[in-house]
Structures are given as C-alpha cells and as structure tokens.
Amino acid sequence: MNRISDSFVTFTRRFLLVLLVSTVISTNTTAETTFDLQQYRGKVLLLDFWASWCVPCRRSFPWMNEMQDKYGGQGLVIVGVNMDADAAEARAFLEEFPVEFRIIEDAKGELAKEFDVIAMPSSYVIDRNGGVVARHLGFKVKRQDEYESLIQAVLAEK
C-alpha cells in the first residue's frame, strides 16, 4: 500500500526533480559529490541514505548485500549514500560490516537535500529511465519481502 501511494504521490514530481538534479550535478564542476544519475540510465538504481550511527541502517545492510548479489546480473545497482559527518566513522563501520555495493559520501547533505530526505534511512528506487518510482522511509525487517517484490517489478519493466 505504502509503495503504491508513494509512487503516485512522488512519481511525476520526482521524475522532473531527478532530471534537474542529474543535470545540475553532472554539470556542476564544484560539486562535492561525485554522483551522476546519468551513468545509471538503463539500470535500476536503489539509492540508500545511511549513517554509521543509525541502527536500522545497519540492519538493512545484509539485505542490501543480498539484493545486490541476487539482482546485480539483471541490472540492479545499489548505491549507499553515507551521511556521516566524520568519514573515519563510516570507514570503521564498513570494516565491521563489509558491503557488496558502492558507497558514496555526502557529508554536507547536498544530495540528501536534493532528494528531500526526511528520515534515516531513506531509500529511493529509480527505474531504468531515471524516474523515482518509490521511496521507503526507514527499514523494517518485516517488510523485506515487500521491498524485494518492488525491485523485481521495476527490474521487469522496460
């Protein structure tokens, strides 16, 4: 239910916003983040905002590793956006909890603001055309299957 309402509410707005964001970021030569949405065109992108001090974020990592392994071949790319103000803490965390997916840093929160992140963790599912199709606020272990079904559905789309 949540996923459908999220999609309806956010789809059009987000699609345009993401286009704008990807343009801005990829052309802004002084941008801190090296994030370029264009490079994920044709892939399904799961963009996850996390931090080392966030316990539910920690809980989502094993699941995201599993998703990356399982669906990487079908074009799923997971990118973890780390929000730690202190990069050393993030590195220490990743040593203890290694990941199978790409991590980028957004210590200043610029990318988080562009995506209007209102909860930690937040994950955005972006389809092969660059449109945001869903947003999940928080991570609930009980809803893992629901999250996975959504990914399968988006991967199946052309």
Partner: protein, 75 residues
C-alpha cells in the same frame, strides 16, 4: 481552578513551541550526536529509578520526569 487554567496555558505554550517551531531542529542525517547513548534524556534508567525512590521517600515531591524523543530519530 487557577492552577488548572495556569497549567493549560503553560501546556499550550509548550505544545505551540514544539509543533509551531517547525523550522527548529536538524536534518535527519544530522543526528549523530543525538544518537549517542549519553545524549539520551534517560541515559541510565536504573540509576534514575533508584534516585527517584530515595527522594520520593525523603521528600514530599515525586516524579514529574518526562518522556521520550531525541535520539537517533531513525525508522
């Protein structure tokens, strides 16, 4: 009766201050310090309970302590 209306007034101020100040606070990703154990409002519940019991037994006041909020704000 006076006490009651005073209480309602103070509480409205408090609620107003809280929910009205929608611009006060931090972004969800800026809660690293607030997530620390030592920053929780009730960092040691056993000690707080022991103290409350001692003071309740030796003084005429009790409780009044509040609740949750703060912290990581996750999920």
């Amino acid at each position: 009766m006076r006490i009651f209306s005073k209480a309602v007034f103070v509480f409205s101020l408090v609620i107003g201050a809280g929910t009205g100040c929608s611009s006060m606070g931090v972004e969800p990703w800026e809660r690293d310090v607030l997530a620390k154990e030592e920053m929780q409002l009730l960092a040691d519940p056993v000690e707080a309970g022991l103290d409350d019991h001692i003071y309740f037994s030796k003084e005429a006041s009790s409780g009044g302590r509040g609740f949750g909020g703060g912290g990581c704000g996750c999920n």
